[in-house]
C-alpha cells in the first residue's frame, strides 16, 4: 500500500514537472519515492519478469548499459534502463517511476549501471540476476576511498548474495579476476586476448600491479591500457582466468580499445541470456555513442567530438584515441572540481599528457580548474618556445569554444575532453540543453 502511494505521488510530481519544464528529473522523483517507502526498490524489482542486470566498474558503464539495452530491445524484450547515468539509489528509483508500465508486468529486463560505492546496497535491495564487472581504476578518491577497499566490500557483498546471480567478469583486470576467484559462484570471464592491442609502454596511471592474492609484483605479457592485460603472478596459484569471450568474438563501431571491452562485456552477457550471435553482432554494429562518449555534434557548421574523461585511465585512453585519428583542429580540455567530478583535481598529474607531443594541435584548457590543467600540460610539453605557444588557458568555457571554433578549417575536428559537470556545461553551450 505504501509502495503504491510512493509510486503514485512521485509519478504525479515528476509528470507535472515535466509538463512545466521544471527539470530533467533524473534523480529527485526517486528521492521522493524512497522517502515515502524505504523499500521502494525491492518492491519495484518484483515487477521485472526475467531479470535485473547490473553493470559496474569505473569506466564504460554507460556505454555498456546502452549496448546491452539495445541488444535486448532488438531481440524483442521490453527493457528498463537508467541511461542518463543516474547510477545512485535515487537515480535507479527514478527510472522505475518514469516508466510506470513496469507495474503492469510488461518489463522483461532492467539494465542498471550502478555506482561503485552503492553496489553492495544495490545487490541486497534489487537481487540482480546478472552482474557485469568491467574494471576498477582510481576515480574520485575523495569520494570513494581506495581501490583495495572497494574490492574488499564487493567480495563481502557477493559472498552474502544469493547463489542464483551470474557474474560476467573482466579477466584482464587482476582485481576483478580476484573477485572471481573468491566468490566460487556462477561466473564467466571475458578478456581481449589479442596481442596486437598491446601498448608499447605501461602508462603511469596504473593501479593494481601487485597480486591481489599474495602481494607480489605482477608481470605482464602485454598491457592493453593501465593495469589491464595479460598479467601473471610468479609466486602464487592465482592465474589469469581462461576467457570465454575475446576480441575476435565482437564488433565495435565506436573507436577505442575501451569500446572493445564494452562490446565484449555486452556480448558475454547477451550470450548468457541465450541470444543468438547474429542478433548481438547486428545490434552492436548499429550502436551510436552515449551522450558525451565520443559523441559527434555539429556546431556552427564545425564538427565537435565530446569525450567524457573523468579519471587518469579514461583521460589517457581518450587522448590516445583522439591522437590516433590524426585529425587537425583544436583540442579543448575542460576540468571542473564539483561533486560529480571529484573535488580533488590531483589526478591530472597521473595522466600522460606527454602523449600530446606526438601531435601539433592547438590546445585550450578551460573549466573551474583551467590553470591547474594549464600547469600540468605546460610541464608535459617539450619545452621549446614554439610548442609552448600551443597552449592557451581560457577560463570562460563559452569563450574557449568560440575561440576554438573560429580557428577551424572545414575539415577539422575539435575534440573536447571534459570531466562530468564540465561536459554538461559544454553540452548546454553547444546544444542548448544539458543532457539528451
Amino acid at each position: 500500500m505504501k509502495y503504491g502511494f510512493a509510486f503514485f505521488i512521485s509519478f504525479v510530481i515528476s509528470y507535472v514537472s515535466k509538463i512545466f519544464h521544471l527539470g530533467a528529473g533524473a534523480t529527485w522523483p526517486g528521492e521522493i519515492a524512497l522517502r515515502i517507502d524505504p523499500d521502494f526498490l525491492t518492491h519495484s524489482a518484483k515487477y521485472i519478469k526475467k531479470g535485473v542486470i547490473f553493470i559496474v566498474g569505473t569506466n564504460g558503464k554507460t556505454t555498456t548499459s546502452r549496448m546491452i539495452g539495445k541488444i535486448l530491445r532488438d531481440n524483442g524484450y521490453k527493457v528498463l534502463t537508467n541511461e542518463s547515468g543516474a547510477n545512485l539509489i535515487n537515480g535507479i528509483a527514478s527510472s522505475f517511476i518514469t516508466n510506470p508500465l513496469v507495474l503492469f508486468n510488461k518489463t522483461d529486463f532492467a539494465v542498471f549501471e550502478v555506482d561503485e560505492n552503492f553496489l553492495p546496497k544495490a545487490v541486497t535491495v534489487l537481487h540482480p540476476s546478472h552482474i557485469v564487472i568491467l574494471n576498477l581504476f582510481r576515480d574520485q578518491l575523495d569520494r570513494y576511498g581506495e581501490v583495495d577497499s572497494i574490492v574488499e566490500a564487493w567480495i563481502t557483498s557477493f559472498l552474502n548474495n544469493a547463489t542464483t546471480t551470474h557474474y560476467i567478469l573482466n579477466a584482464d583486470d587482476p582485481a576483478i579476476a580476484f573477485i572471481g576467484k573468491k566468490i566460487h559462484k556462477s561466473k564467466i570471464f571475458f578478456g581481449l586476448d589479442e596481442p596486437s592491442y598491446y601498448i608499447k609502454q605501461m602508462e603511469y596511471a596504473t593501479d593494481s600491479t601487485y597480486c591481489p592474492n599474495c602481494g607480489t609484483k605482477l608481470t605482464y605479457g602485454g598491457s592493453y591500457f593501465s593495469h589491464l592485460g595479460k598479467w601473471a603472478c610468479g609466486s602464487c596459484d592465482f592465474t589469469h582466468p581462461n576467457v570465454s569471450f575475446s576480441a575476435k568474438d565482437v564488433v565495435s563501431c565506436i573507436p577505442g580499445v575501451y569500446n572493445i571491452y564494452n562490446s565484449l562485456a555486452a556480448t558475454a552477457l547477451a550470450d548468457c541470456l541465450g541470444i543468438q550471435k547474429e542478433i548481438i553482432h547486428d545490434s552492436l554494429s548499429k550502436i551510436t555513442p552515449a551522450f558525451g562518449r565520443y559523441e559527434k555534434i555539429i556546431f556552427k557548421g564545425k564538427e565537435i567530438r565530446l569525450v567524457l574523461s573523468k579519471n587518469p585511465t579514461g583521460m589517457n585512453e581518450s587522448i590516445r584515441t583522439i591522437l590516433d585519428q590524426k585529425k587537425s583542429g583544436p583540442i579543448i580540455f575542460a576540468l571542473n572540481d564539483r561533486i560529480p567530478d571529484g573535488r580533488d583535481v590531483s589526478w591530472i598529474w597521473d595522466v600522460d599528457f606527454e602523449q600530446i607531443n606526438q601531435s601539433s594541435n592547438h590546445i585550450i584548457t578551460t573549466g573551474d580548474r583551467t590553470y591547474d590543467l594549464a600547469i600540468r600540460i605546460e610541464y608535459a610539453l617539450v619545452s621549446d618556445d614554439s610548442k609552448q605557444k600551443r597552449l592557451e588557458p581560457i577560463v570562460d568555457t563559452e569563450l574557449a569554444i568560440q575561440t576554438a571554433i573560429s580557428t577551424m578549417q572545414p575539415t577539422d575536428t575539435c575534440f573536447i575532453l571534459a570531466t562530468y559537470s564540465a561536459m554538461l556545461d559544454i553540452r548546454k553551450i553547444i546544444t542548448g540543453k544539458k543532457i539528451l
Binding site: 583495495d148 603511469y204 573535488r343 619545452s383
Partner: protein, 256 residues
C-alpha cells in the same frame, strides 16, 4: 659537465596514490627549464644504501595502507639511520599526503593496529576509524619568511587539497610547516599543518602540492644545491603565471 642534482623518489610504485608524481615532474622540470642538470633516482626494494646516500633531495608520496606497511618495513630495516642522518645534515625532503605518518614515532591505523614509524619527526598519528570523519577539502596555510628566497616571487601562503583519515599531533620538539588558514591541517584542532625539521617538510597537502606552490619548489631546490655544493644558488625566475593564477584562484575561492 656539472654533476646533476639527484632527486631521490621514494618507492614510486608503492607510494604514488594520487598525482604524487607531479612533485617530481615539477622539481625536475624547473631545473631543466633553467638548464641545470638533474637526475631522478627511484629508491625502492632493490636500491642500495649508496643509492640513497647519493641523493640531494628526497621526495615521498602517499600510499594505501597495505603499500604503506611494505614501505615502512623496508625503510626501517635498511634506510632509517641513513635518512635521519641526511635530514640532520640539512638535505631537504618533501613528504606529502600520508607520509607524515611514516616519519613520526608511530601510526595507529583505523583497525587499532600500531605501526612503528621512522621516528625522524617528533610526532604521532592516530586514525580514529569510522568514529571520526576524514578531513577533506581545499586548504590554505600561512608559512614563515624562512621560505623566502631573494630575487624570486614569494607569497606567505600555501594552497592545496587535503584528504586524510589520520590525525597527527606534534610533540614539543617539532615545528609545524604552516599555520592553518582554511581547512583542517594535522588534526582539525590545533591549527598546525604538517611538520618541518631543518629543511625537510612533511605535509598533509595531497598529491601535486608543488604545482600551485612554486615558491616551495624553488626553496627545496635552493636548499638541495646549497647542501650539495656549499654555495648559495641564485635561481633564475621562471614564468609562473599559471602557477600563481591557480594559487590565487584557491585563495579567492576560500575568500582570503
Amino acid at each position: 659537465m656539472k654533476k646533476p642534482l639527484i632527486i631521490g623518489w621514494l618507492y614510486p610504485e608503492l607510494m604514488a596514490t594520487y598525482g604524487d608524481r607531479g612533485n617530481i615532474l615539477i622539481l625536475a622540470g624547473r631545473l631543466k627549464r633553467r638548464n641545470i642538470p638533474v637526475h631522478v633516482l627511484p629508491i625502492n626494494m632493490s636500491s642500495t644504501a649508496e643509492d640513497l646516500k647519493s641523493c640531494n633531495l628526497i621526495v615521498g608520496g602517499g600510499a594505501q595502507d597495505r603499500q604503506q606497511s611494505i614501505v615502512i618495513t623496508d625503510l626501517r630495516a635498511r634506510f632509517k639511520d641513513i635518512l635521519a642522518d641526511m635530514f640532520d645534515r640539512g638535505i631537504p625532503g618533501l613528504f606529502v599526503c600520508g607520509s607524515p605518518q611514516l616519519l613520526g614515532h608511530w601510526y595507529m591505523n583505523g583497525d587499532g593496529n600500531m605501526l612503528q614509524g621512522l621516528g625522524i619527526f617528533d610526532l604521532t598519528t592516530k586514525h580514529f576509524g569510522k568514529n571520526k570523519p576524514r578531513l577533506i577539502g581545499n586548504t590554505v596555510g600561512k608559512i614563515s619568511t624562512d621560505f623566502q628566497l631573494a630575487g624570486l616571487e614569494w607569497k606567505d601562503t600555501i594552497v592545496g587539497f587535503e584528504n586524510h583519515g589520520g590525525r597527527t599531533y606534534l610533540g614539543p620538539e617539532c615545528q609545524s610547516f604552516a599555520t592553518v588558514v582554511r581547512g583542517n591541517g594535522n588534526n582539525g584542532e590545533d591549527r598546525t599543518e604538517g611538520a618541518k625539521y631543518k629543511n625537510c617538510i612533511a605535509t598533509y597537502y595531497h598529491g601535486p602540492f608543488l604545482s600551485k606552490n612554486p615558491h616551495i619548489a624553488d626553496w627545496l631546490l635552493v636548499k638541495a644545491y646549497e647542501v650539495k655544493t656549499g654555495h648559495v644558488l641564485k635561481l633564475k625566475p621562471l614564468h609562473d603565471t599559471y602557477e600563481w593564477k591557480a594559487h590565487n584562484y584557491i585563495l579567492q575561492r576560500l575568500k582570503i
